[in-house]
Symmetry: D5
Subunit: 146 residues, 10 copies
Amino acid sequence: MTKEDVTMMILSAKKQAGMTWEEIAEKIDMSPVWTHSACMGMNGFPKDKAEALATALALPQEAVSVLEEPPTKVWEQSVPTDPCIYRFYEIVGVYGPTLKALIEEKFGTGIMSAIDFDMQVHKVENPKGDRVKIEMSGKFLAYNNW
Amino acid sequence: MTKEDVTMMILSAKKQAGMTWEEIAEKIDMSPVWTHSACMGMNGFPKDKAEALATALALPQEAVSVLEEPPTKVWEQSVPTDPCIYRFYEIVGVYGPTLKALIEEKFGTGIMSAIDFDMQVHKVENPKGDRVKIEMSGKFLAYNNW
Amino acid sequence: MTKEDVTMMILSAKKQAGMTWEEIAEKIDMSPVWTHSACMGMNGFPKDKAEALATALALPQEAVSVLEEPPTKVWEQSVPTDPCIYRFYEIVGVYGPTLKALIEEKFGTGIMSAIDFDMQVHKVENPKGDRVKIEMSGKFLAYNNW
Amino acid sequence: MTKEDVTMMILSAKKQAGMTWEEIAEKIDMSPVWTHSACMGMNGFPKDKAEALATALALPQEAVSVLEEPPTKVWEQSVPTDPCIYRFYEIVGVYGPTLKALIEEKFGTGIMSAIDFDMQVHKVENPKGDRVKIEMSGKFLAYNNW
Amino acid sequence: MTKEDVTMMILSAKKQAGMTWEEIAEKIDMSPVWTHSACMGMNGFPKDKAEALATALALPQEAVSVLEEPPTKVWEQSVPTDPCIYRFYEIVGVYGPTLKALIEEKFGTGIMSAIDFDMQVHKVENPKGDRVKIEMSGKFLAYNNW
Amino acid sequence: MTKEDVTMMILSAKKQAGMTWEEIAEKIDMSPVWTHSACMGMNGFPKDKAEALATALALPQEAVSVLEEPPTKVWEQSVPTDPCIYRFYEIVGVYGPTLKALIEEKFGTGIMSAIDFDMQVHKVENPKGDRVKIEMSGKFLAYNNW
Amino acid sequence: MTKEDVTMMILSAKKQAGMTWEEIAEKIDMSPVWTHSACMGMNGFPKDKAEALATALALPQEAVSVLEEPPTKVWEQSVPTDPCIYRFYEIVGVYGPTLKALIEEKFGTGIMSAIDFDMQVHKVENPKGDRVKIEMSGKFLAYNNW
Amino acid sequence: MTKEDVTMMILSAKKQAGMTWEEIAEKIDMSPVWTHSACMGMNGFPKDKAEALATALALPQEAVSVLEEPPTKVWEQSVPTDPCIYRFYEIVGVYGPTLKALIEEKFGTGIMSAIDFDMQVHKVENPKGDRVKIEMSGKFLAYNNW
Amino acid sequence: MTKEDVTMMILSAKKQAGMTWEEIAEKIDMSPVWTHSACMGMNGFPKDKAEALATALALPQEAVSVLEEPPTKVWEQSVPTDPCIYRFYEIVGVYGPTLKALIEEKFGTGIMSAIDFDMQVHKVENPKGDRVKIEMSGKFLAYNNW
Amino acid sequence: MTKEDVTMMILSAKKQAGMTWEEIAEKIDMSPVWTHSACMGMNGFPKDKAEALATALALPQEAVSVLEEPPTKVWEQSVPTDPCIYRFYEIVGVYGPTLKALIEEKFGTGIMSAIDFDMQVHKVENPKGDRVKIEMSGKFLAYNNW
């Protein structure tokens, strides 16, 4: 049983149960972003969260240890074509040097960690058209000099 | 005089004046993200903001019309190697399908606009290590059916 | 049942019924361009249109919810080799900067949306050789300054 | 004197004269799309049009023969990053197979020529947001069988 | 039944019958180049030629309509490694600009069509070593100015 | 003085003299294809032909030895975008396997040489539209078995 | 039965018989380099050699005609990662221009044929460490001038 | 003074002196392959050989230390287009797995070194056409197990 | 039975036995790095080590000879996306020229062998956060001059 | 004055002074790896180290602030061809999955930081041939779950 197998089981159970990702996230008391990503096999579950998910979606016991395995994070190496995903690459492409300049201005030489990291997605209602709001937070890591 | 020429003038004036991007942004009453990006030639200035910048940094009059020109947004087509910028591609690569799934769950079929869009960068102090906080907001655009 | 499965069912039903894409489009009261594209899995159906299609082509009930799912729009990242498709890339490659210059001249800094968008294909008879006429229309989106 | 040199002269003369591409196109009695594209060196001028342009913008006599030279149409081989141009690749990528299917349905096996071809850009005012309208027309070419 | 299926049937029937491509071409009264290419699925058959081929090779009736379908011409986007095919890319790579210069010198600004096109392959005996002779002919297409 | 320098001299002398490539080819009693290609630096001149060219175009004496140097044949490794050149890649891409199959059928296992090779370009007048005719001839080379 | 099928049969028969490539080569009286390469489907067998191989390894009769078919030589288009193969690309990459310069110095303008070609691999014992010795020989081909 | 500068000096001195690479190699008592490659900056000279070369070609004293510097061996990462060099990639591409199989059969698991390596080029006269003979020799390196 | 098959058997046996790579490495008296890599099929086993592994994990006898076969080391040719592996490419990318400069300074012109090579991974406890320590050692190889 | 300018000054001063990287590193009391890398512009200097370097190599005062600027770490995105650097990519390519497996086995799910990181290069004398020893150490970073 691989992570791909377990992802298929989750998607099937989710469809049958008619649950949203937010509802599943609530059941295991984690954020929707992390929950979806870990269900896709892009993050590893802590043991208690893996058990909570297995209970919530009636997954077989063997799935628990698979959910706990460290992920191998493989993502598209060329820029993806789906418009919803592409726009985020466009943002990072256009504003990447700006993010670097402002982080260095505020923190000194270093980077924002993508490992000690979290993210949230919100819907903000607006009479001119609702807006997607995304918040990211990552630990600042200073370069070592030795 | 091209946008590149004006960017060079801005960087040189900024260094001489010892100003930060935040200070320049305040002078023209715009956000630091937009200000840096537009100074790099990746966004076009409204006329009044171009004039305010020219005044703040003592740029020549001709620079104003160049700052107003629409940008040609050229960014690296392969994933950049600088660690500070790369980590953002890693985030978008790993979490892109998650962002798509959650946006569709909350809004229906469509995308977050990268055109009607804004972004902020904050420093959040934390005893375990300060954190970089990034907030993005973009208008939701539903696909047209015809 | 995936979108690919439903596309196969549609193609098979279409062949058996001897219908053209225009006839199918008429049956569901949508344009031929949108209808073909959505049948290929590149657009999501509104519920009533999915039901109309299922009725017109005698698709199983389960197909309706699959047709409604948001699409993941994956297209060839390198320039395609089929001559009929290639010529459109040649047009966009040669005239892309021209389209940008004229849109900016007419509308200001911004883009034509590919989301709030529609397209039509017509045959124009001509004694020197019939002509293909294509009309596209997309909402103008101005860049946000913040 | 190369086509690039002449393009630079045209851009400089246009800026000084404060003319738009539409006004230049009118002066030489051609469409704005063709005029911009030929001024960028992507199409060759007929002799009378080259002379008309030289007169309108006070270009040196030598420029006339350069404008008449056949172009070498070099365009970006990877998908461009500028959002205004990228959206056209997204349209062609998503709808390319649809255009092929509908052309074949209407005309038989063959292609739309990108050589015997013309295009127009219009602004369509709309209370929900103005729209960009693009019309292309190309001769249908049937494959030869021998 | 797809074009690939029919190609497999043709290759199998050809092997069993011990026929060459030239013999098959004669049977359907078309050129060997076009015949091979259409049997590989790279050109669509006119109805009478599809029927003649089905008769000559005892293909099932359903194959006829498949042979008539418009082809999707997918070819290797990187330069192929097989020496016999590679040498043609080498010729086109080395002499491409020469062909362009001489076509423009003889015909004016435009191209040789690859759609209204035919090609023949001959064996020319020669005491110093036999030679392969290839003849191509394509309609000249002048660029449209509008 | 490099081959590029000499190419520039040739192009300049050709323009000043108002000669075509065919006229230059006649002056040195070689074919137009070879002449253009060698003037572009893609073939090396035999000594007498180099001298004839230098005389015909009044090139400096030093150019003769440069024209005799073996060429380094560098051509675009990705498929070129100019429509006139692209169409030849389309032909070789679509018909490459056909050429291989027919050469092997006529000659046995081997290739057509691109080294012991010649090519001609002709204009064939035709009331339905003039045609470009191209003839290539290369020595057949059988694979060695050892 | 394809060339890949026959390669699998050969590898299996070789393993069962415990024969080396040198021993197989001896059985059919050809060199080990050619024998291995032809068994991998990268060269076509003359009829008598195909029969000798079939006898030596007890291959089915049908394999003989497959071994005789002309090969389609497909090799990795990017530089391979296996260290033993990579080192040969390193040699050709570093010394390619040197080989060209020395061949042109010794023979005039032209190339070494890779078709009329043979190669041998030897083991040379040496107290400081045994050495691999490789000998290649190819016919010199002069460029044609026409 | 860089390695590129010294290469230019060598080429110029060689042309003026009318020497071949073989003659230069003899003067410094090294092989022609190594001599050309080191003169191109792809190998570093031992001190005495650098001095011998400087004497033979009347290079300035400063060139000696530049010739001694370790090289940075940068070669074309895509397969080169020049036919004379390409053929060697074709050989390595087609026969790479064969070389690996025979080296492992003769020596055990390991590789032929491209560092402790030498190569020679010879002309072998032959009434059917002269042949290029290339001999390579590299130390066998066994993989370490630890 | 291929190397991939044996890797699958090993992973399955390891999971069932609940052993770590370090424990397996101890059983066969080799390092964990080499053991994991050889179990993945990236190194060949000496006979006694293959037998020890088969005993330790109860692999079938046939697996022993497969473990002994020379590996074909195929690794990702583009930079991998998994963050744990990517960071090593980042290190080699940033510090590659530094390693070259310091090796040449200490040893002369040459390289560190990746064949006569070993590596160890250690955990170093640290109150500010544990550290990963990696030690590599490779034989210095001097370039041959001939 | 850019980082590239300062790198050129350092290389020139180092050559004139006849100093090694180890001697320069000692002067500023940092490691040779960090020192070389920072002099190449791949790391930013702390103020006191920048001043020490300027003193040791007699750099102009303006260089100090340039050395302090955060670096933009641009490295070759394709695998480099220089053999000394390539071997490190080969190691990381072959052993990358092994490093990931052992780090996860020892530390849990996470990565070795390339930011809080240091590296040393040593020469280890050995009668069978001296060895290059490289030690890397990076902080372990566990993935965040939220």
